[in-house]
């Protein structure tokens, strides 16, 4: 008997969901106990359309080949002391932020997608989630391997996982992903696959990878290109998940809308760190945060994606308008925060050079000279007892209960003031940097009161290597607990800068 002719889609079904069966010895609920409590209703998992058709054997081949190329380039870079040809050692401070802040999130995504691959009752999306779980492990490990070489010569790379768990500014990315993995499997995929991978990845990845290319960081750039094919799979999964959930049942629509509202603002606040990096920390700049926001968010997401989702009854996220209003303020506010507290950070900051301030004024004609330049002019004159002839904010900031960024966001409607919001919940006052974060808290206060706020924890005495011997010993004991060694303070008093100058004194001699 001749074999039936099958389409590729049918074949792929047999390779994946065809392996599934309905259990008869136990209840399906006992195998997938976390599938119903979020209130998402699925009528028919068979309506799932695979966003890509990857088999395991194809996966092994493609991924092994991609990695073979990546490691060849990385090894070449290492062997040739490629770090010496970077644009400037200042560049590496954004890579420090990346490896401390983002690499552990790649790892958390790996475990989070393993959760989805285990606990979503639909075999189609489970399969796609599994491949993403593998990919995220890849991204973690490649980034660690690339960082390993920089770690040998520069500060700020030596303890990324410990720092991620402890250091104040890293609680911003950590709390973001902790929020996602403690949610149910449906919220997780909406948060990460859709809101992050689909709506925000470009805003995170493109600046980092182009920044790497502009500044001579071949391994990061190569990784970026190589990860793109993984990312495009992740993005199509994200869109597919949301459309599928919306099509399955009308009761899902308000739930998904609430998640989109929440995760838009959560993700947007997270990427504000990228804004600071783009505008202030790259020696050779690619584009401004504002330009990138307009291109990737306003044009592609708001005008493209959300137009497309209208027919499902989905509107653009709440507080999107606020983020548009903030686009000329955000990166300046966040860099100023990082700059002010650099004495307790595992990267360096610096006062922008005059030509850099010119660039900022040109890119932000309505805000930079008006509201920010004077801060750096004053910062040059301020003297503190700390290294680096410039201003530090000696003290501990008030953190937003949700995004955990210090409360230093300018109110675009009243630019001489910072936004401050609060909520009273069960007899306690909680503070927020924005209406978006306040709204997120109000949806699930029982979750956000659990937040491990770094500043509160310092006050509670939970962040000291040893009990401080007096008020002057508080910060040193915290830094010791963070394992911050010579990683902090201004770039121009750093070992990185000293070494960089030394290494470039007479690096190459040309003999004719």
């Amino acid at each position: 008997m001749a074999k039936k002719k099958l389409t590729l889609a049918q074949k792929y079904h047999i390779y994946t969901r065809g392996l599934d069966w309905e259990p008869t010895y136990v209840s399906k609920k006992d195998i997938y106990p976390y599938a119903e409590y979020e209130g998402i209703k699925i009528k028919d998992w068979n309506k799932w359309e695979d966003p890509f058709r990857m088999t395991v054997e194809a996966y092994w081949k493609y991924q092994a080949e991609k990695d073979r190329r990546f490691y060849a380039i990385l090894d070449g870079f290492i062997q040739n002391q490629g770090h010496l040809t970077l644009s400037d050692a200042r560049y590496l401070n954004s890579i420090k932020l990346f490896i401390q802040g983002v690499t552990p999130l790649e790892y958390m995504a790996h475990r989070g997608f393993a959760f989805v691959a285990r606990h979503l009752p639909g075999p189609g999306p489970r399969t796609a989630a599994f491949f993403q779980s593998m990919d995220e492990l890849r991204h973690t490990q490649i980034e660690v391997h690339a960082g390993s070489n920089f770690n040998k010569y520069y500060d700020g790379f030596h303890s990324m996982t410990l720092m991620h768990d402890r250091v104040w500014y890293l609680s911003v990315p950590k709390s973001y992903f902790d929020d996602a993995v403690t949610a149910g499997p449906f919220e997780y995929v909406t948060a990460i696959s859709f809101s992050f991978e689909y709506a925000l990845t470009n805003l995170l990845f493109v600046p980092f990878m182009s920044g790497a290319a502009y500044n001579g960081d071949t391994p990061t750039m190569t990784f970026g290109f190589s990860a793109q094919s993984d990312e495009s799979r992740h993005m199509t999964l994200g869109l597919q998940v949301v459309k599928f959930l919306l099509e399955q049942h009308e009761d899902n629509v308000p739930i998904i809308q609430r998640w989109i509202d929440k995760w838009w603002w959560r993700g947007y606040r997270l990427t504000s760190l990228v804004g600071a990096m783009m505008d202030y920390m790259l020696p050779k700049r690619v584009m401004s945060w504002k330009e990138s926001f307009e291109l990737y968010i306003e044009d592609q997401i708001l005008e493209g994606l959300f137009r497309d989702l209208e027919r499902y009854g989905i509107r653009p996220p709440l507080h999107m308008e606020q983020s548009i209003k903030e686009k000329e303020f955000l990166s300046h506010d966040v860099y100023w925060i990082l700059f002010s507290f650099t004495f307790a950070a595992a990267f360096h900051s610096w006062i922008p050079k005059e030509e850099e301030m010119e660039w900022l004024a040109e890119k932000y004609p309505r805000t930079f000279n008006q509201y920010y330049r004077w801060r750096y002019e004053k910062a040059k004159q301020a003297k503190t007892p700390l290294p680096g002839d410039r201003f530090y904010y000696i003290g501990l900031p008030q953190l937003c209960q949700v995004c955990q960024i210090p409360m230093g966001f300018t109110d675009p409607d009243d630019p001489n003031n910072f936004v401050q919001r609060y909520v009273e919940y069960e007899g306690e006052i909680y503070h927020f940097c924005s209406d978006g974060c306040k709204w997120i808290f109000e949806q699930e206060p029982e979750k956000y009161v659990q937040a491990w706020l770094p500043v509160h924890e310092i006050y509670k005495g939970n962040c000291f290597a040893e009990p401080p011997k007096g008020p002057d010993d508080v910060v040193p004991q915290v830094l010791k607990w963070y394992n911050i060694q010579t990683d902090n303070f201004d770039y121009f008093v750093s070992e990185d800068y000293k070494n960089w100058k030394e290494w470039h004194k007479d690096m190459a001699t040309v003999v004719v």
Binding site: Y59, Y71, F130, D165, R166, W452
Partner: protein
């Protein structure tokens, strides 16, 4: 005019030889890529929120299993797989599979398989794709809930191998003639209804409801795998050869190699669990009590396969085959110093 450039390269002494936490563990030496990719990678502390899907646990929590280690990184994968080396190894392993498919196609080997024997093969072999698939679900659960990257990474790769196995069986089935209609529908029906698979399916469905990742590993890697692989890929394959069918021996060897490869990390992990200075004794009690149960169940479950040994030409000796399987299991458990009655 020819110009010669001589680049004088500076020798720069590295400031550190490795990440700080690796230097603390291993002393002042450079770390391997496996160590960098694995050791202390998982988040440990200060988790912001508790899971909404389960009460009383943290995001990563040693209490997801009764099995515990003083230092979770006292276990390291003897194969030293991290993402790249794992994928590169499997891509290379699979090259041989691709070549073999080409060879079979060229020689028309799949079409030439004896029809009576094919009925037997379709009954015991093709439905195993469902069993392998269940292994994937179980192991990806270990990859989520296990503690420490060295363990969970092995589980993730093992999960991938299981899915790969399920798809390789599928690929073989695509090549086979279908004298009795849709081979996949028939195989699913066999898996769901044929008496030879029912105890095995009951076993695996029950295992799928277990939350303790250590127990899952005992039930899957130390029980299902240890019994089913020698039964199918050694004993039944030998019998197939005695019945004149050699086409599938190549695949059986591949699956068996995959099993052996995964047993390397499994055995090492259990060795470390059993010898832990603080938890070793508790781990032993848990492992022996669970494994006595699971090995007993799986041993009974495969007795149904006696029916398969009635091959079309030469009848096999199930009792002897079963004894060989039991001896294999005894050897595995004996090496670990476990007291298991089977």
């Amino acid at each position: 005019m020819s110009v010669q450039y001589e680049i004088k390269q500076k020798v720069i002494e590295p400031k550190r030889l490795a990440f700080d936490y690796l230097l603390k563990r291993y002393g002042n030496r450079p770390a391997s890529r496996y160590e960098e990719a694995t050791v202390d990678i998982q988040q440990r502390e200060n988790f912001h929120y508790r899971p909404t899907w389960r009460e009383g646990v943290e995001i990563f929590d040693v209490n997801y299993s009764e099995l515990k280690l003083t230092d979770y990184y006292s276990f390291l994968d003897p194969r030293q797989y991290y993402y790249y080396t794992y994928n590169a190894t499997r891509a290379k392993n699979y090259e041989a599979v691709d070549k073999y498919f080409e060879f079979c196609e060229e020689r028309g080997l799949f079409e030439k398989v004896n029809e009576d024997w094919l009925k037997v093969f379709n009954r015991y072999f093709i439905p195993l794709r469902h069993l392998e698939y269940a292994g994937w679900i179980l192991l990806v659960g270990v990859a989520r809930f296990g503690y420490g990257t060295s363990i969970t990474q092995c589980a993730e790769f093992n999960a991938c191998d299981k899915y790969g196995n399920a798809q390789l069986i599928t690929r073989i089935a695509f090549e086979l003639p279908e004298p009795d209609g849709d081979i996949f529908e028939n195989a699913k029906k066999t898996w769901l209804e044929d008496k030879i698979f029912q105890p095995l399916r009951e076993y695996v469905e029950k295992l799928l409801t277990i939350q303790d990742w250590g127990e899952v590993l005992i039930g899957q890697n130390l029980a299902i795998d240890v019994f089913v692989n020698p039964l199918v890929h050694i004993e039944l394959d030998n019998l197939a050869v005695e019945n004149g069918v050699t086409t599938f021996s190549f695949f059986s060897k591949y699956f068996y190699d995959m099993y052996k490869d995964n047993m390397r990390w499994t055995e090492k992990l259990f060795e470390v669990l059993l010898s832990d200075p603080n938890y070793g004794e508790n781990n032993r009690k848990f492992i022996e009590s669970k494994l006595n149960y699971y090995a007993g169940q799986i041993s009974k479950a495969i007795d149904e396969f006696a029916d398969v040994f009635k091959m079309p030409k030469k009848k096999g000796d199930f009792k002897k085959a079963k004894e060989n399987v039991l001896n294999h299991a005894r050897e595995v458990y004996g090496k670990l110093g476990l007291n298991i009655k089977i």
